[in-house]
């Protein structure tokens, strides 16, 4: 009995050790293969990601309640003086907005008449919906958020996520019919958006830098960027409309032009997902013989 056990132990112990070492090696190899596959076939993991997010959804929604409660407590701590100051500022802003409203109505009428003159096809109907931000990734250097929108809204990849200030990102993973979408924010290291400078319309690429900063790449040498200048979407990719404000130039270090998102990306409570549809708006020419 003891001899048999000793013989068994002589084989089993080194075998167990070898299997343990091999399994670690296999797991490391699997991780490397996964990294490669995820880089080349990102879509493969999209469905899996959203399924997992859906599973975590009830917990995230439940966790939002105490967070919102604490937020409302802090909100109630605002003093009357602060509220009076805000009230005054809001009245001034309202007066200003009324002027802009009148201007917008005039421009809209002008726009309609010009479109009719150019025989422009009406752009694709723009649809949008609001959604609460449920989760934010906190384990990597990337930056994306999970947004919950009404289930009947037609979700798809590439929708523009906006706040009142401007664009903050795009949907990259969606779970249709569930109202869950992952929004890749502008400061994620894989985020690249074709943009233009507001003043000169010089084209460039806005790249995320993972620390809340953005870098303006491939800007032509003759473009003269100014600190404080707004950066708008260029619309060259055929996905985004042109003219959406994204960021503002904060610093110019030689060739490196740094920008900051126009909306605070770490304080997103609500987002609006906008489907701009197709961007091509010019109708086919309708030449008729005289």
């Amino acid at each position: 009995m003891s001899l048999k056990f000793r013989q068994f132990a002589l084989i089993a112990i080194p075998l167990r050790s070898a299997v343990a070492q091999i399994s670690v090696g296999l797991l490391l190899l699997s991780a490397l293969v996964l990294m490669f596959v995820a880089r080349t076939h990102a879509d493969v993991f999209s469905g899996l990601r959203m399924s997992l997010t859906r599973m975590a959804d009830p917990v995230l929604i439940a966790a939002q309640e105490p967070v919102e409660m604490v937020e409302s407590w802090f909100g109630n701590l605002q003093t009357v003086a602060v509220m009076q100051m805000e009230n005054k500022a809001l009245r001034e802003e309202l007066a200003n907005l009324r002027q802009w409203h009148a201007e917008a109505v005039r421009l809209d009428a002008e726009n309609r008449s010009l479109r009719a003159l150019l025989q422009m096809k009406q752009p694709h109907e723009i649809t949008s919906t609001g959604g609460a931000v449920l989760a934010d990734n906190g384990t990597s250097f990337g930056h994306s958020v999970i947004v919950s929108v009404p289930e009947d809204f037609k979700l798809r990849r590439g929708l523009v996520a906006m706040t009142g200030d401007g664009m903050v990102g795009r949907t990259v993973d969606v779970a249709p019919g569930t109202g869950m979408a992952r929004v890749l924010l502008l400061d994620d290291p894989v985020s690249r958006v074709p943009v233009m400078l507001e003043s000169t319309k010089a084209r460039a690429i806005l790249a995320g830098q993972s620390n809340g900063a953005l870098l303006l790449e491939h800007l032509p040498g003759e473009a003269a960027p100014l600190v404080g200048e707004r950066i708008l979407t260029a619309g060259d990719d055929g996905v985004l409309p042109s003219g959406l404000p994204l960021a503002r130039i904060t610093r110019i270090d030689g060739d490196r032009i740094w920008a900051a998102p126009i909306a605070p990306l770490n304080r997103l409570d609500w987002l609006r997902l906008v489907d701009f549809g197709t961007i091509n708006t010019l109708a086919k020419p309708n030449f008729q013989a005289p």
Partner: protein, 177 residues
């Protein structure tokens, strides 16, 4: 199996269930850490405490038998998928590497005073975050700022005693049961 409390052959079903409970502790605690890392608090930066890493490191140091390397791999992969990182597998790679090294030094961690463990574990967290930053820089071409990397690792290292405080009663429950 060696770490399960000794039970005679006529062990009651509820005691067997209790033994299984010990094996579930890492799974439940890692899942909790994953969900905790996803909870969104507006106004706080996203890159804060790496809760799943802290929990995995804790079990690797103090109860490696309860946390097989396969579990670390799966948990880290879930972490990558839920966090939305484009480098799926990077956390799995780093987690398997670091926990394999730490679990081999299990006896040392049990013998050393907690403050010494804390220093070693903090060093590991800095390496963990450093590897992530390196992989991101090399594969995505975007190098995270040193302040982001340092802040994230530093805050995570500071949070380790809290994780130890929560998990140590669970670890010690094995001896009392």
């Amino acid at each position: 199996m060696a770490l399960m409390p000794y039970r005679p052959k006529d062990t009651a079903w509820w005691q067997v269930l209790g033994d299984a409970g010990f094996w579930l502790m890492p799974i439940v605690s890692i899942t909790g850490a994953l969900l905790l890392s996803l909870i969104y608090i507006p106004g706080l930066p996203a890159l804060t405490i790496h809760w799943p890493a802290l929990v995995m490191i804790y079990w690797a140091c103090y109860r490696p038998q309860w946390q097989p390397t396969g579990l670390v791999f799966v948990a880290a992969l879930l972490c990558d998928l839920l966090s939305g990182t484009s480098l799926i597998g990077i956390t799995a790679l780093i987690a398997v590497l670091i926990t394999t090294i730490l679990r081999s030094q299990n006896k040392l961690f049990l013998a050393l005073p907690f403050w010494a463990d804390w220093i070693i574990i903090s060093f590991c967290i800095f390496i963990w975050r450093g590897f992530e930053a390196l992989a991101q820089g090399l594969l995505l071409g975007t190098w995270p700022g040193a302040s982001v990397w340092f802040t994230s690792a530093f805050v995570s290292a500071l949070a380790f005693p809290l994780v130890a405080l929560v998990l140590s009663p669970l670890r010690r429950a094995a001896f009392r049961f």
